[in-house]
C-alpha cells in the first residue's frame, strides 16, 4: 500500500524503553522504520531536518510520532505543542507514550491536540499487549491521507 517505508519517530530519553518499543514493533512485518531520538530538541531537529538531522535522505517525514513527556532539554509537551502549531506537521498523529499517569499531563497533552495518550504499564504482558494493539491500530487499521 505504500511505496516507501512508513516511518515511526520514537522520542524517548530512556534507552531501555526505546528498546522495548523497538522489540515490539519488530513483530510487525510491515515495511516500517522506527527512528529513535533521545530528547525533545533532537525530535524537533529531526522534524525540521536541522542540526544533527539536516540530511533529508536520512530523515524522512514520519507517519506516526510516539512521544514521551519527560524529556531532557525540550519537554515532550513543548514538542507536541510545536508540532501541532505547525500546519505542515500537525496532521502527523502524535501518540503520547509515557510513564506519567498524572492528570495534569493528560489534560495538557489533549489541550495540545495529542491524538492518543498511552501510559506505559509496569506489567510486562500488559506492556506487550499495549504495544501490539497500538501497533495494529496505528499501523494496520488507521488510514492516512498520504
Amino acid at each position: 500500500m505504500m511505496g516507501e517505508a512508513f516511518v515511526i519517530l520514537l522520542v524517548e530519553d530512556e534507552p531501555a524503553h526505546a528498546e522495548i518499543v523497538r522489540r515490539n514493533f519488530e513483530g510487525f512485518r510491515l515495511a516500517n522504520r522506527l527512528i529513535h531520538v533521545p530528547d525533545g530538541q533532537a525530535a524537533l531537529d529531526y522534524l525540521y531536518q536541522q542540526g544533527d538531522y539536516s540530511d533529508p535522505e536520512a530523515c524522512p517525514r514520519p507517519g506516526l510520532i510516539l512521544l514521551d513527556l519527560r524529556l531532557p532539554r525540550v519537554d515532550g509537551l513543548e514538542v507536541l505543542k510545536a508540532i501541532k502549531q505547525d500546519p505542515a506537521l500537525a496532521p502527523i498523529p502524535v501518540v503520547i507514550l509515557t510513564t506519567s499517569a498524572a492528570e495534569a499531563d493528560m489534560a495538557k497533552a489533549y489541550e495540545f491536540h495529542a491524538n492518543s495518550y498511552l501510559v506505559k504499564p509496569v506489567d510486562f504482558p500488559q506492556f506487550v499487549s499495549l504495544m501490539d494493539t497500538c501497533g495494529y491500530y496505528w499501523l494496520a487499521w488507521n488510514k492516512y491521507p498520504y
Binding site: D39, R70, K120
Partner: protein, 826 residues
C-alpha cells in the same frame, strides 16, 4: 417654653361708637321728626281751633243778630203795635187779643224763646205765652222801664232768674204807639232759655273731641265770668268766676283782649289750648278750648310710636352688637381656655419634668417655685422648699458666691449660665448637678431667677465609664502592633472621592510606614504618600461611603512591604484603616507556596522517575523469560544489561532524593570556616576526576571568613566541580576557576569552566529537579537542584552564565547568611 401671646381682649370700642352713633342718629332723626310733627300738629290744632273759634263766634254773633232782628222786627211792626193797642184799649178787643196771641205763639213755637210776655207801661200783663206764667217779677219790670226809656229793644244778657235760679237771656222790645212812634205803649218781653237751644249750640263741637268745648265769657268788674254750661263743671253759668289777673287763664286772656290761639290753664287747672276772640257787637268773648293732652294725643301717639320704633331699632342694634360682643367674648374666652389648656400642659410638663426646676428671687435667693423633680430629688416637701433659699441646698455655695455666679446674668452679659454644682438632699446626701441659670423678666421690671437642674450622677457614671473606655481604647490604639489611621474622605464637587485627610494615626502606623507621626496629622493622603490619587482611594471610599467593612492584602511598592489593610467606617465619610505588616507572613507564604509547588513537582517527578526504571526492569524481566526460553544468549545478556542499568539508576535516584530531603531539614550546627577552607575541601573531594580529566583548577586568593553548615557549603563547590568536569566535553585544556567578587552589596562566588557550556534556552531549567540536558549523561538531574537548595538555605541565589554550547559556563551564587554575621553563632 414657647411664648404664647395671650389673645387680646379688645373691648369693641369701635362697635360701641358705631352703636352710639347709630342710636344718636336714630334719636336725632326721631327728635327732628317729632319736632316737625309737633310743629305740624300744633299748626293743625291751632288752625282747627281758630277756625272753630271763628266759625262759632260768627255763628254766635249771627244768633245775636237774629235775636235783635227778631226784636226790631216786632218793635217796628205797625201791625203788631196796632194790635197791641187794640188789645190794650178798654177791656181790649178780644179779636186783637186773639190775633196777638196767635202771632206770638208762632214766635214761641220757634223754640228760641221759652216765655213771651206782653206788658203795658204799668207792668200789667196783657198777654203771656205760655199762658200760665207766674207774675212778672220786680227785676223784670225794672228792665222794662230801661228799655222803654231807651225806646229801642234791649238785649238783656245772661241773668239768673229769681224765680227758678236758672240762667236766662231776654230781649225787651218797647212797643210804640202806632200813631205816635215816640210814645211807648207797652213792652214785649221774650225770654230765652239758653239750655234749650243756645247752650247745645255753643257746646256743639264739629269734631269728636272729648275735652273740646266752647266757652262764652264776659267781663264782670275785675272778674271774668263764665256764661254757659261747662262740660266738666255743673252750674258754671254765671257762677264760675276767676279774677282777670289770672294770666294763664284763656278766658281772662280773651277778656283782656287777646285774639288767637293761646296756651294756658283752664278752669280745671288743666293745660289747655284755646282760641280766644271777642264776639262782635257783644260783651262776650268766645273761648274755644280743648285739653292740651287731647289736642296732642295723636302726636303723643306718634311720639310713642316713634319712640317705640326707635327703641326697637336701638334694641336691634344693641342686640346685634351684644351678640357680636358675646361672640367675640366667647371667642376670646375659648382662645383663653385653649391657651390655659396649653399652659396647663406646659405647667404639667414643667412640674413633672425629671429636671429640678426652681424659680427664685435673685436678690433674696428665696425659692418661689419648685417642681416635682426638685421635691423628689431633694427630699424636701414643697412647703419646706418654698421657705428655703437656693443656697440652702447647695453646700458648696454661699449666698454671696451664688450671687457672684449670677452677676454676669444680672449685668446682661450672658443669657444663660451652666455650672456644675453639688446639691444636698434633706437626708444630707449629696449629688452632682448641672445647673442652668437664667434671669427671666416677669414684667414690671421685675426679674426672677430660673434654675434648671439636672442630676449628673448617672452622667458622671457614664462619663467615668466613657473615660475608662476611652483610656482603654486609647491605650489599645497607642500600643497596637497594627498601624491604625483614621481618615476623612475628601470629595469633589460632584461627590466623587478625590482624596482623604489623615485625622489620627497611632505609633505603630508610623513604624510601619516610616512616616513622621506629627507630619501625618491633617495631611492629605496624596501629599503624605506622594501619590495622586492617594493609595487605595477606591477601596477606602467604598467603605467610607458604603459602611461595609472591607479587608484586603496588598503589596505596597514604595515600602516594598506587604500589608493587610482592614478598613472600617466609624461614621459616614470617615474610615479607619488597620495596617498589619504581613510581609513576613507573605514571604513565608510565598516560600511555602514555592515549597509546595516544589514538593508537588518532586512527588510527580519521583513517581515518574522511579516508575521509569521499574517499567524497564519488569519489562526486561518478561523479555528475559522469553529469551531464556528461546535460549537466545545474546538477548539475555542485553536484557540483563538494561535491568542492571535501571536498578543502578533507581539506586542513585533514591540516594539523591535522600540528600535533597535532608537539605534544610537536617541542619548541621553552624561552624566558622572560610572560602579558602571550603574550596580546598571541595577540591580534595573531586581530586580523582579532576586528575583523570587533567583539569587545571585555580582559586582566588581571598581570605573570606564564613559561618554556616560547613558540609553543605562544601557540597556546593563539590557538585559544581563535578558538573564542570562532567560537561567538560572534549576540551583539550580544561580549566576551572573558583572565584569571589563584589557585586553591588553582595559578595558573589563563582565557578567558571571552559567546557560544553549551556544553551541560554536551558539556563532556567538547569536548576530544576530531575532536569537533565543530556539524556545520555549519567546522573539523576538532582545535582544543581541540590546546590540551589543549599544556596537558598543560606539566603542566597544562584544563576548560570554561558554564551552557549562550547563556550564554557559560569555558575554564580551568593551566601548572604554565611557572610552577614560572621561573628555570630547561628
Amino acid at each position: 417654653m414657647a411664648e404664647q401671646p395671650a389673645p387680646e381682649w379688645r373691648k369693641p370700642i369701635g362697635l360701641l361708637v358705631l352703636a352710639g352713633f347709630l342710636m344718636l342718629a336714630i334719636v336725632g332723626a326721631s327728635a327732628d321728626y317729632l319736632r316737625r310733627q309737633y310743629r305740624d300738629e300744633q299748626t293743625k290744632i291751632h288752625a282747627q281751633l281758630s277756625s272753630i273759634g271763628e266759625l262759632k263766634a260768627r255763628q254766635i254773633a249771627q244768633w245775636r243778630q237774629e235775636r235783635l232782628a227778631d226784636a226790631w222786627a216786632l218793635g217796628r211792626n205797625q201791625a203788631f203795635a196796632a194790635l197791641f193797642q187794640r188789645a190794650q184799649v178798654g177791656k181790649g178787643e178780644p179779636e186783637a187779643r186773639a190775633l196777638l196771641q196767635s202771632w206770638l205763639e208762632s214766635i214761641w213755637h220757634q223754640r228760641v224763646y221759652d216765655r213771651i210776655r206782653l206788658l203795658d207801661l204799668d207792668g200789667k200783663e196783657l198777654l203771656c205765652i205760655p199762658s200760665d206764667l207766674p207774675k212778672t217779677s220786680a227785676g223784670v219790670l225794672r228792665g222794662f222801664r230801661t228799655a222803654i226809656a231807651l225806646g229801642r229793644p234791649l238785649f238783656q244778657d245772661f241773668y239768673r232768674s229769681e224765680e227758678d235760679q236758672r240762667v236766662y237771656l231776654s230781649i225787651r222790645i218797647p212797643v210804640p204807639d202806632p200813631r205816635d212812634p215816640q210814645r211807648m205803649i207797652g213792652i214785649a218781653a221774650l225770654r230765652i232759655d239758653p239750655s234749650l237751644e243756645f247752650y247745645p249750640f255753643i257746646s256743639r263741637w264739629p269734631t269728636s273731641a272729648r275735652t273740646a268745648e266752647t266757652l262764652l265769657v264776659k267781663q264782670d268788674g275785675q272778674e271774668v265770668v263764665y256764661l254757659n254750661q261747662l262740660k266738666f263743671q255743673a252750674d258754671a253759668a254765671l257762677s264760675l268766676r276767676f279774677p282777670l289777673e289770672r294770666k294763664d287763664l284763656p278766658a281772662a286772656m280773651a277778656v283782656r283782649g287777646q285774639v288767637g290761639v293761646v296756651e294756658g290753664r283752664d278752669y280745671r287747672g288743666n293745660q289747655a289750648l284755646a282760641d280766644v276772640r271777642p264776639i262782635p257787637d257783644s260783651p262776650w268773648f268766645l273761648v274755644s278750648r280743648m285739653d292740651k293732652d287731647e289736642a296732642y294725643e295723636p302726636f303723643r301717639q306718634q311720639v310713642l310710636h316713634t319712640i317705640l320704633l326707635s327703641a326697637l331699632l336701638m334694641l336691634c342694634i344693641g342686640v346685634t352688637i351684644a351678640g357680636f360682643w358675646r361672640h367675640q367674648r366667647s371667642r376670646y374666652f375659648q382662645a383663653r381656655y385653649a391657651q390655659e389648656q396649653e399652659l396647663a400642659w406646659l405647667r404639667q410638663a414643667i412640674a413633672r419634668s425629671l429636671s429640678e426646676i426652681c424659680v427664685f428671687d435673685p436678690d433674696t435667693l428665696r425659692i418661689l417655685f419648685a417642681n416635682d423633680g426638685a421635691v423628689r430629688n431633694l427630699g424636701y416637701t414643697r412647703e419646706e422648699l418654698l421657705a428655703m433659699t437656693m443656697t440652702d441646698v447647695k453646700p458648696t455655695q454661699s449666698p454671696a458666691s451664688f450671687k457672684a455666679l449670677l452677676a454676669p446674668l444680672a449685668a446682661g452679659g450672658r443669657e444663660t449660665l451652666a455650672v456644675e454644682l453639688t446639691h444636698r438632699r434633706k437626708d444630707g446626701t449629696e449629688y452632682p448637678v448641672e445647673t442652668r441659670l437664667q434671669l427671666v423678666d416677669r414684667g414690671q421690671g421685675l426679674r426672677v431667677g430660673l434654675a434648671i437642674i439636672n442630676d449628673l450622677t448617672e452622667h458622671h457614671k457614664i462619663l467615668d465609664t466613657l473615660q475608662f473606655s476611652e483610656r482603654k481604647f486609647r491605650t489599645l490604639f497607642e500600643n497596637l502592633a497594627e498601624g491604625v489611621a483614621l481618615h476623612q474622605l475628601v470629595l469633589d464637587e460632584i461627590g466623587s472621592p478625590l482624596d482623604y485627610l489623615v485625622l489620627d494615626v497611632n505609633p505603630a502606623y508610623r513604624r510601619h510606614t516610616g512616616l513622621d507621626l506629627d507630619a501625618t496629622q491633617n495631611r492629605l493622603g496624596s501629599q503624605l504618600y506622594g501619590l495622586e490619587p492617594p493609595p487605595y482611594l477606591d477601596e477606602f471610599a467604598r467603605v467610607a461611603q458604603g459602611g461595609q467593612p472591607y479587608a484586603f492584602e496588598t503589596y505596597y511598592p514604595p515600602l516594598a512591604r506587604y500589608f493587610r489593610i482592614s478598613v472600617i467606617s466609624p461614621r459616614p465619610g470617615q474610615f479607619a484603616t488597620v495596617f498589619e505588616d504581613i510581609t513576613e507572613r507573605k514571604t513565608r507564604e510565598e516560600e511555602l507556596r514555592q515549597k509546595n509547588a516544589e514538593m508537588e513537582r518532586f512527588t510527580y517527578l519521583v513517581s515518574h522517575d522511579l516508575k521509569s526504571p521499574l517499567v524497564t526492569v519488569k519489562t526486561f524481566l518478561g523479555y528475559l523469560e522469553e529469551d531464556l526460553a528461546k535460549q537466545e544468549t545474546e538477548r539475555v545478556k542485553k536484557d540483563l544489561l538494561y535491568m542492571h542499568g535501571a536498578t543502578e539508576k533507581m539506586s542513585r535516584l533514591l540516594g539523591d532524593l535522600l540528600e535533597v530531603s535532608r537539605i534544610g531539614r537536617v541542619v548541621n550546627p553552624p561552624a566558622r570556616t572560610s572560602f579558602q577552607a571550603l574550596a580546598k575541601e571541595a577540591l580534595e573531594a573531586v581530586a580523582g576526576s579532576l586528575t583523570l580529566r587533567g583539569v587545571e583548577v585555580t582559586v582566588d586568593e581571598v581570605e573570606l571568613p564564613l559561618l554556616g553548615d560547613r558540609p553543605r557549603l562544601v557540597e556546593i563547590w563539590q557538585n559544581l566541580l563535578e558538573n564542570a568536569v562532567k560537561y567538560m566535553g572534549d576540551q583539550p585544556s580544561p580549566r576551572i576557576h573558583l572565584g569571589v567578587e563584589r557585586a553591588g552589596e553582595h559578595t558573589q562566588f563563582f565557578v567558571r569552566d571552559n567546557g560544553l557550556g549551556i544553551d541560554p534556552r536551558y539556563h532556567g531549567k538547569v536548576f530544576g529537579l530531575f532536569e537533565k540536558l543530556d539524556a545520555r549523561t549519567e546522573g539523576t538531574g538532582l545535582g544543581l537542584a541540590l546546590i540551589k537548595r543549599i544556596v537558598e538555605v543560606h539566603g542566597g541565589t544562584i544563576r548560570v552564565e554561558s554564551e552557549g554550547a562550547g563556550q564554557g559556563s559560569c555558575f554564580l551564587f551568593t551566601l548572604p547568611k554565611a557572610i552577614a554575621a560572621p561573628g555570630e553563632a547561628r
